[in-house]
């Protein structure tokens, strides 16, 4: 923590950045903070409650950063992949941001978490995460930590669901999606949902009905999962913020499985790695095509 605060202070003092984006202690656990003065660097914290993917704030579609000058952003390995995605998709220029990479041994599911980090309490998505520190970073701070072994429960759940009949899967998802109230928090929190106007808000034509009924909800979640294919970095924010507790990570995981198995793609924090959307190989598998 000392290392992080000293670095943040130095960056602000020497003027190489005007804002440091990190986490602080809030009334209900960790929360994002914008540090603008060197003395405020003491507010910064990093511990397993710092679950938020701050890359979402970098999106130019979000006005938060206007007038905040050059920015340094604290990133966990998964967050760094989101920043890489934003660079890949020309939303952020690499030289516009300073990345403060944090060594990470997994986080809790929740910023309010009071538990100590253990194989039981760790956020499910961190199980089996191979990355201990971001490679896409200008500075790397923090103490080295061990991760937790996989597979994650939701990976297992994906496999379980795949073993069911289509009808049983249909029933499962209808029960889950029935809780969707179309608040779009999943979209707002996603660092890679940065469209000027979301397809779900388009009216001419209306591909995604806005009503929170089974048909509109299904269209929305299909559309969201498709748009994140080969882009989702599995930061788990969508699922965390869903007020209905819908296991949205299962959908992105399912898509990630397809993309991984068929096109050999994994989320990467190297912006130069091309996305599987927009690339192809003549030998891509096509066993499903007559």
């Amino acid at each position: 923590m000392r290392e992080l605060r000293d670095l943040a202070r130095r960056l602000l003092e020497e003027g190489s950045v005007q804002t440091v984006l990190g986490w602080e202690e809030g009334p209900r656990g960790a929360r994002p903070v914008f540090v603008r003065r060197p003395e405020e660097a003491e507010r910064l914290i990093f511990d397993p409650r710092c679950v938020h993917n701050l890359a979402a704030y970098l999106s130019p579609r979000r006005p938060h950063l206007k007038g905040l000058g050059r920015i340094a952003i604290c990133v966990k390995p998964c967050d760094a992949k989101a920043v890489a995605g934003l660079i890949r998709e020309t939303q952020v220029a690499r030289d516009q941001v300073v990345l403060i990479g944090l060594r990470c041994g997994g986080v809790l599911p929740d910023p309010e978490g009071r538990e100590t980090l253990s194989g039981e309490t760790v956020a499910d998505r961190c199980r089996g995460c191979p990355d201990r520190e971001p490679r896409l970073a200008d500075h790397v701070v923090g103490t080295a930590a061990e991760g937790f072994p996989g597979p994650s429960r939701r990976q297992q759940k994906v496999e379980e669901l795949l073993a069911l009949s289509p009808d049983d899967r249909w029933r499962f998802w209808q029960q889950e999606l029935a809780r969707c109230v179309r608040c779009h928090a999943c979209r707002q929190v996603c660092p890679l949902c940065f469209c000027e106007q979301c397809i779900a808000d388009k009216t001419r034509p209306r591909w995604v009905e806005s009503s929170a009924h089974g048909r509109g909800n299904l269209a929305w979640h299909i559309s969201r999962a498709m748009h994140l294919a080969g882009r989702c970095v599995d930061c788990g924010e969508c699922e965390r913020v869903c007020p209905g507790g819908i296991p949205l990570g299962l959908l992105t995981r399912r898509v990630a499985k397809t993309v991984g198995e068929r096109f050999g793609w994994r989320p990467s924090d190297d912006p130069a790695v091309p996305s599987p959307v927009g690339t192809w190989r003549p030998e891509d598998p096509q066993e499903f095509i007559l």
Partner: protein, 673 residues
């Protein structure tokens, strides 16, 4: 408010027999927005078209649906008719109730219901159609010809004689291609060099042809009318402005043992060389992989031999010359990269082209290929035109020719007929007979394919007058027995195995496209078949166009071609190019993608998926002139209208005109319950 007219065609009995056309017209009449719906026997006839025009004028139609045949059949007809009545042609759509309905169903009820559905989807679509204007793009009226063989030479000369500038790129040090290697040509037996050399010189001297020999196309950007081509001018190590072509350098070179490519390995050349005496341009080139100086430099040793530079009175030798990149702007491209002969299982690096170990090619020196025989027969060749076999320089008295080596054999990876071999083998037997009067030529063939003017007469002459012995069958093995080659085969007509002695065996190897053709095709965005031959746009009706507008194809890079075919194709491409250059502007269908600046988030997925590189980055500035955003821009000249960008765009901020989301959506809606 939409005012749509529906015109249902009976197509005589073709539609009317299975579809109740009157009922279709009636059903459509009730749709909101439809103000006119009629059926008629022959909508494409003059009176039919008049009905459409009249209705447009009288009822003030804002859209037309013609329920008839496939749009591929008559879309143009009816769009022209609509246009004639003052309606924007892109407000007219075809509902295909013939090919997709009446012709494939028998049940009148079901077919009629389906026809109504089909027409309804198009009515809903046409309501959302917007008037479009054909796109005008300027044309750079210069052409690039890739390949300086006979096809490229002919195309370049025809275009240049037509008054347009031509850039001709040849990868070898000289133009001339394979034709310059041939001795005589079928079916007239005129000397290949004698008819080719004047054309080569003409190219060199033509004021409108810029020749880049020893050069290759590095990259191609742009689109029809507006290509920007980067050409790599490989370092010859000779300053072409200073060199006067005296040849003193080639005489001085101490390394004279390099197998000559031009002589197919049957002759030698120095490391600094002119490939053949009539080369155009007549400039020497240093083969850096063979030159002592460069070999030493590669090993970090000092320059020892500079004999060529010492011999040059003009100081033209430049050991430090580098490759240069030049850029040319052209409006059309002719691909004429020609062929290579099948390597008979050697040196291909491809598993599917192996085979023919049983013929001993490459290990038995007296087993040669057809191109090597051409060099033996050529007066300017390594034997000065005498047929002498490579192993001991003796005159062969028994020569066996084998046809279809690789060709027509799926197991060797080439199931196609190479087309030229039957003829050149017949020619070889004659040339041989003319030079070795007491010699016996024997040909093993599968079929004799001599279709062409004077061709069958020519092969008959080889057999009947020149005494060539033709055996229908294949050879299974060739081996050496002392000085003779044993040829074991089978005569399928007499049903007997044959074992014969030969002094020389000539393999008529298959024609394959040049190596590297795939990479070039990818640069040009043209499609090619699994062998690498460039695909023509239509096998019958568009034989010299390719899948990319403005890129044309001539000669043996498209399929095995003989000289007359190649020349005819080349002239055809020239006429296409000159036609394209006839006007300063070019018209294009407006089926192109358009970006909505306000909504584009600038993620550039569209750029990644665009097969044509049509998507550009465009800066959006505020009033103060500062860049506020960078958005996608689709260059309408480059866009071909596939719409992959739109399906990929997450926010649908790019729309393909004529197939917008709204139009497709309405079609899907129209099919709803």
């Amino acid at each position: 408010m939409a005012r749509i007219g529906v015109f249902v065609c009976h197509c005589g009995e073709n539609i009317g027999r299975t579809v109740d056309c009157a009922r279709v017209a009636e059903a459509l009449r009730d749709l909101p927005g439809v103000v006119h719906s009629v059926d008629y026997k022959y909508m494409c006839s003059d009176p039919g078209q008049q009905m459409v025009k009249q209705a447009i004028a009288e009822k003030g139609l804002t859209g037309v649906v013609v329920a008839a045949c496939s749009p591929h059949m008559h879309e143009k007809t009816f769009r022209r008719a609509a246009s004639g009545a003052g309606l924007n042609p892109f407000l007219c759509e075809m509902a295909n109730i013939r090919e997709h309905c009446s012709w494939i169903h028998e049940d009148r009820e079901m077919a009629t219901a389906k026809a109504i559905d089909i027409a309804r989807t198009l009515v809903e679509k046409v309501k959302r159609n917007r008037p479009l204007k054909t796109i005008q793009i300027p044309v750079t009226r210069r052409a690039l010809v890739i390949g300086g063989g006979i096809a490229g030479i002919q195309a370049a000369l025809d275009i240049a004689d037509g008054g347009r500038e031509v850039v001709l790129v040849e990868k070898e040090p000289s133009i001339g291609g394979h034709m310059s290697q041939l001795s005589e040509t079928f079916p007239t037996l005129d000397c290949s060099q004698c008819i080719l050399t004047p054309r080569m010189v003409e190219v060199y001297q033509h004021p409108r042809i810029r020749l880049y020999a020893y050069s290759e196309v590095e990259s191609v950007q742009g689109y029809i009318g507006n290509f920007r081509v980067t050409i790599r001018r490989k370092a010859r190590s000779v300053d072409e402005d200073k060199c006067n072509g005296c040849g003193a350098c080639t005489q001085a070179c101490p390394n004279r043992k390099v197998p000559s490519e031009f002589e197919c390995g049957l002759g030698k050349r120095p490391a600094i060389y002119v490939p053949f005496p009539q080369a155009v341009p007549n400039l020497p080139t240093i083969d850096r992989s063979r030159c002592l100086l460069f070999l030493n430099r590669a090993k970090g040793r000092p320059d020892t031999c500079k004999k060529c530079a010492e011999a040059c009175s003009k100081g033209a030798i430049d050991f430090d010359q580098q490759d240069r990149l030049v850029t040319e702007e052209v409006g059309a491209i002719v691909v004429a990269t020609g062929y290579q002969v099948y390597s008979i299982g050697k040196e291909t690096g491809r598993d599917d082209l192996h085979g023919y170990g049983e013929y001993g090619y490459g290990t038995l020196p007296d087993v040669i290929d057809g191109l090597q025989f051409e060099r033996l027969a050529s007066a300017s060749g390594p034997t000065a035109g005498r047929i002498l076999r490579p192993s001991d320089g003796k005159e062969p008295k028994r020569v066996v020719f084998l046809q279809c080596i690789g060709s027509r054999d799926p197991a060797k990876g080439m199931e196609y007929c190479s087309k030229i071999c039957c003829m050149y083998v017949a020619k070889h037997t004659m040339l041989y007979k003319h030079k070795v009067h007491d010699g016996q030529a024997t040909v093993f063939y599968m079929d004799i394919r001599a279709a062409g003017k004077g061709y069958d007469e020519f092969t008959r002459r080889a057999i009947e007058e020149e005494g060539a012995r033709y055996i229908r069958g294949r050879v299974s093995r060739i081996w050496r027995d002392g000085e003779v080659l044993k040829v074991q085969g089978f005569d399928t007509l007499s049903g007997r195995p044959i074992l014969m002695d030969a002094d020389l065996v000539v393999l008529a190897t298959a024609v394959r496209p040049q190596p590297g053709i795939e990479a070039l095709a990818q640069k040009l965005n043209v499609s090619y078949d699994r062998h690498g031959f460039i695909n023509e746009a239509h096998p019958k009706l568009r034989p010299v166009e390719t899948s990319t507008a403005g890129v044309f194809v001539a000669g043996a890079c498209q399929a095995p071609r003989d000289i007359p075919d190649s020349v005819a194709m080349a002239s055809a491409t020239a006429s296409k190019v000159l036609g394209l250059f006839a006007s300063e502007m070019l018209e294009r269908e407006p089926t192109v993608a358009v970006v909505n600046d306000a909504l584009c988030a600038g993620c550039f997925h569209c750029e990644r998926v665009c097969p044509y590189g049509a998507v550009e980055h465009r800066e959006v500035r505020n009033r103060a002139g500062q860049v506020v955003r960078v958005v996608a821009y689709v260059n309408p000249g480059v866009c071909q209208g596939c719409g992959t960008c739109q399906a990929t765009c997450p926010s649908k901020s790019v729309e393909l005109q004529g197939f917008t989301d709204d139009q497709v959506y309405q079609q899907i809606q129209a099919l709803g319950l």
